[in-house]
């Protein structure tokens, strides 16, 4: 495959809809907790927990477990690598969209 096409190869870890939603939400804030992510992405607790674990293992998010009052609270933020990867991913999607629109017109 040519170098140009390699640039359009999507990152499968990020492209999964649940993880893409989590990373997109986190890209517009400094940090958010588990409940907030559940509300904004609409994922179930189990799915969100599983996706966050994968994203943390890949070094895309930082997870901080803490107690707020007497309640456990999980706070999540994008790492620098996570910020770069989600920005690049959306850029790729935009380019693919433009490419498909150009192909249809031709």
């Amino acid at each position: 495959m040519s170098e140009g096409n390699d640039e359009l190869l999507l990152d499968r870890l990020i492209h999964e809809p649940g993880r893409l939603a989590i990373l997109t939400v986190l890209s517009s804030v400094q940090a958010a907790d588990f409940v907030f992510l559940q509300r904004t992405t609409g994922l179930t607790k189990g799915n969100l927990s599983s996706h966050l674990t994968k994203l943390e293992e890949a070094g895309l998010v930082e997870i901080q477990k803490r107690f707020v009052g007497k309640k456990p609270n999980t706070n999540v933020a994008l790492t620098l690598v996570g910020k770069q990867r989600i920005a690049r991913h959306w850029d790729q999607l935009e380019r693919l969209k433009r490419l498909s629109e150009t192909s249809v017109q031709q």
Binding site: A21, T24, V29, A31, V35, F36, T41, L52, P72, N73
Partner: protein, 197 residues
């Protein structure tokens, strides 16, 4: 999945915690009633006790939002914009509007009108102006500009009352928008909502 919808929702949700406007609007109303010497509010301790009740209500409502809709730290740029807009526009509404009323013998309430414009600008900058804000704060603006305020002995204190009502109304509609977008508080069990739990 719409990128902009997700980003915008995450960025704005903090400012849709509309029930927090109830104690704030309550503060505006008791300020007006206190200045007018209404009922028990002529006693300073009643005013202070009311402030404490409103403060406790604010904390309780904030906790409700944190537990049921989650905590989020907005980006630094957005936080800065929020703080600067709040500081400048509240000062403009409070000082600018009341100074106009104190300085000129107008038949209108410049305080209510300027406060309405300041709140419209605040919503436009921090939350995004919606039809509900235009209707509620537009009504406040029109009420302030009606030439019926001239006979009132203390226009600024009276103006606090519709300002308080408008603040509460805008807050209730913002809360309804939050519930429509993210579901009711009962729709999510926040207990032990954390990774691995």
């Amino acid at each position: 999945m719409e990128r902009r919808d997700l980003e915008s929702a995450a960025a704005h949700v903090t400012y849709l915690r509309g029930l927090l406007a109830i104690p704030l609007g309550g503060l505006f109303i008791i300020t007006g009633l206190g200045n007018l010497g209404w009922g028990p509010l002529v006693h300073p301790w009643v005013f202070v006790a009311s402030l404490l009740v409103l403060g406790a209500a604010w904390l309780g409502i904030n906790r409700y939002y944190n537990d049921h809709y989650g905590r989020v730290t907005p980006s630094r740029g957005r936080q800065m914009r929020y703080h600067v807009a709040s500081l400048i526009l509240f000062a403009v509404g409070l000082v600018g509007g009341s100074l106009l009323d104190f300085s000129f013998d107008l038949p209108i309430s410049a305080f209510a009108a300027v406060f309405a414009l300041a709140m419209l600008a605040w919503f436009a900058i921090c939350v995004g102006l919606r039809t509900r804000h235009l209707i509620i704060l537009g009504s406040l603006l029109v009420a302030g500009l009606l030439p019926v305020w001239g006979s009132l002995p203390d226009r600024v204190s009276v103006a606090w009352l519709p300002i308080g009502v408008a603040t509460i109304a805008a807050g209730i509609f913002d809360h309804r928008a939050l519930v429509r977008a993210y579901g009711s508080a009962r729709g999510l069990n926040p207990e032990n909502s954390h990774v691995g739990g």
